[in-house]
Amino acid sequence: MVENIRQAKANGAKVVGCFPLYPPLELLHSLGLIPFVLWDIKEHARILKESDRHIQSFTCSVVRRLIEFVLSEEGKLLDGLLMYNACDTLRNMPEIIECGLEERGETLPLFKFHVPMTSPTQIDSTGYLADRIRELVIEIESAFGVKFSSERFLASVKLYNMIRKLSLELENLVAEGRMSYADFSRLIKNGYLMSPEDYLSALKDAIRQAGSSQLKNIADGRRIIVSGILPPPDALCSIIEQAGMRVVGNDVSSQARSYSHIPQEMSDPAGYYADFYRKHYPCTTLLYLSDERLKALNELMEKRNARGLIFIGEKFCEYEYLEIPFLSKMLEQKKIATLQLEIATDDEDNVEAFRTRIEAFSELIRSS
């Protein structure tokens, strides 16, 4: 997938690496830049040599791999970085990256903006966000010598909304058994390191292929949802399927939490991002939406007729881990079985240890 970045650069594009979780991709795209979101990038940051020189091992794999990527040879492909206050760890990364680049005598423009985290019952902070978006536009225009256009912004919004709609459609096909969740996860993951146009094509191809493939029923209706920041690693997806379960939906930040809300299409980025962030699908990192989390999960469970939920815990993510006990308790009160698995940076290749627990969980929901 790094090849996509190389190709884009070879075609004269400027490439911006975005910190997860929910950066304003439409805005960057409308300004003629290609945004890539730097998460779920294990293949491109396997050994954390650079990262370990700058941050402790008790940070999550998302951040450690992001730092590794940016400070590695592949990172030199980037023309800029963009971030917002997504989490406590990510907010501390800009200056660490600066230190790392400075060691090599390099710099990279890093655009930062603050997304308000006030709760809906408090003051209306859309004005503050609007100002931050306008400032961001001016900064990017100045850094790259580009000019904002409302028409191009609207076109980018439509493009990304189409991507969201097709992602939802593909998720439905996974729920029906026409595509494996592992294949689905791989496609979504690769999408973050593709131009949106290429990603849209890939989604259309996948939908076509899945639509014409045979329906795969699962015995005993062992339908489950997975929840977490990143999807389960491929090997874990295989174990889940081998245990007779099907992942019929997800509450994963890099998947459904990213595409489930289709923001209202408009040509004013200030208005668009007010809708985008305020009405976003609930995520643990969007502090003002925590009251919506349980409702969203319940609706998902019902929509997908799921009997169980597996939390794929990203080790060291306090946002997730401060919510999991409550969500587990609430779901279990509704007789929905839950299982918590923890995935640390080096666990992705060592998932066999989870097999027994997953098989037991599968038996549990079969008999429920």
């Binding site: 930062k112 408090q122 003051i123 902070s125 100002d131 502090l287 401060l322 308790k329």
Partner: protein, 423 residues
């Protein structure tokens, strides 16, 4: 009352220590009594501007982080953490949060203060860390208590005017929220009075910690950790001003009399992280045995300041309280970035004539720890001052290994000696 002289070097028992105990005991008792009498109770994160609550007749506040620190210092941190873990809260979560959740879920059992009275309102802020918001959400959901989030933008540079205005608007909204919920009217003049007291208390506290400038230091950083509690739980009150004035006077007097916690002080160290609450006496005593003294800490030196500085910059001169409070929202290290931290620590290195830095890498506090590796490199290279990094969780003793830590500390002292012999 005659002053006891504890023969143990390091953290010393003092008249001020006894006065502090009385202030805190009375405060917690008062909190419980008032709550039982129907007073409006607010739980706050440590840098929430509590001075605003003085604008109401009948509002009291409790500080879960401070209670967690006290619990850890009293030796019940691990017990409370285990309770939270039994409720399903991961051991990787901040130990302050686990202690607090463990305490709350067990109805205050094993707490040195019988826990904290149930709140009517939770007020968190996200500039120290967003974990605080998620932590308070636990109670918001469990007890159905409203949760007000103060959203304070992180400082990579000095606070910007637009961010200050944004914060002020939220403070006004908070006041309106309390008015609505409590049925009480807000009186801004009482807030100004509280702010004068907070400013005066911080100034006296600064005078106390500046006793570390003397060679040998008149204090240990462990003294500053213990003494900072009223600034979190009771600031805004005149008694706190009086306490810190007496504390500073007492400490200066001890210096004049030649009484020092580490009389043969050879190594002056600065600690970067939260206090190691479960090790206060042990660590200070063992260091004293090595003629080493952690004389200052970023955790306490930042009191009374603003982002990027440890100098006293919180003089209140009757300006608009909302703006003044908004201006000082980012003083506590975690709300600001690497460049500003370097500035503050460089100043401290010179001001306190530091021989070595101890960076305490704290698994419970990523916001404090995650930039320490680069900060350590920068400080060491730029200032030429030796440093080490040790692993210390501030409140969960299970994540601390004394021998491991002291192996490195002793190596630091050797580095300092080696540097001196090359000079």
């Amino acid at each position: 009352m005659a002053e006891e002289k504890d023969e143990t070097r390091g953290l010393m028992k003092t008249e001020s220590g006894r006065r502090l105990t009385k202030i805190l005991t009375d405060d917690y008792l008062n909190l419980h009594q008032k709550a039982a009498g129907g007073t409006f109770v607010v739980w706050v994160a440590i840098i929430v501007p509590v001075e605003l609550f003085y604008g109401f007749d009948n509002v009291v506040f409790a500080v879960p982080e401070s209670h967690a620190a006290l619990s850890a210092a009293k030796g019940v941190g691990m017990l409370q953490c285990e309770k939270a873990e039994q409720y399903g809260y991961s051991m990787d979560i901040c130990s302050y949060a686990r202690i607090d959740i463990g305490t709350a879920m067990s109805g205050g059992k094993d707490s040195p203060t019988f826990g904290l009275p149930r709140p009517h309102l939770l007020v968190s802020n996200n500039n120290n860390c967003s974990l605080l918001v998620k932590w308070f959400d636990v109670y918001h959901r469990e007890w159905n208590v409203p949760h007000f989030i103060l959203d304070v933008p992180f400082c990579y540079e000095m606070q910007k005017e637009k961010d200050l205005k944004y914060i002020v608007a939220q403070f006004r909204n908070l006041v309106q929220t309390i008015e609505k919920m409590s049925g009480q009217k807000f009186n801004i003049d009482r807030v100004k009075e509280a702010m004068r007291n907070s400013s005066a208390a911080a100034r006296q506290y600064k005078r106390f910690i500046d006793c570390a400038v003397h060679r040998p230091s008149g204090i240990t950083a462990f003294d500053s950790f213990v003494q900072m509690a009223p600034l979190l739980t009771s600031r805004g009150r005149p008694e706190v001003v009086n306490h810190f004035r007496l504390l500073a006077d007492e400490t200066e007097e001890k210096i004049k009399k030649g009484e020092f916690p580490v009389p043969n002080e050879r190594y002056r160290l600065l600690w970067d992280s939260i206090a190691p609450w479960h090790q206060l006496r042990k660590m200070s005593t063992r260091l004293a045995g090595l003629d080493a003294n952690i004389i200052a800490a970023s955790y306490t030196s930042c009191v009374g300041s603003i982002e990027g500085s440890y100098e006293f910059l919180q003089e209140y001169r009757d300006e608009d309280p909302f703006e003044s409070l908004a201006r000082i929202q980012n003083f506590s290290v975690c709300p600001y970035g690497l460049n500003l931290r370097f500035n503050a620590m460089s100043w401290a290195a010179q001001h306190y004539d530091i021989d070595g830095f101890v960076f305490a890498s704290n698994r419970s506090c990523k916001v404090y720890s995650v930039m320490q590796m680069d900060l350590q490199k920068w400080i060491t290279e730029e200032l030429g001052i030796p440093s080490i990094m040790i692993d210390v969780d501030h409140a969960d003793v299970r994540k601390y290994n004394e021998e491991n830590a002291f192996l490195r500390i002793e190596a630091l002292l050797e580095s300092i000696d080696a540097k001196r012999s090359c000079a």
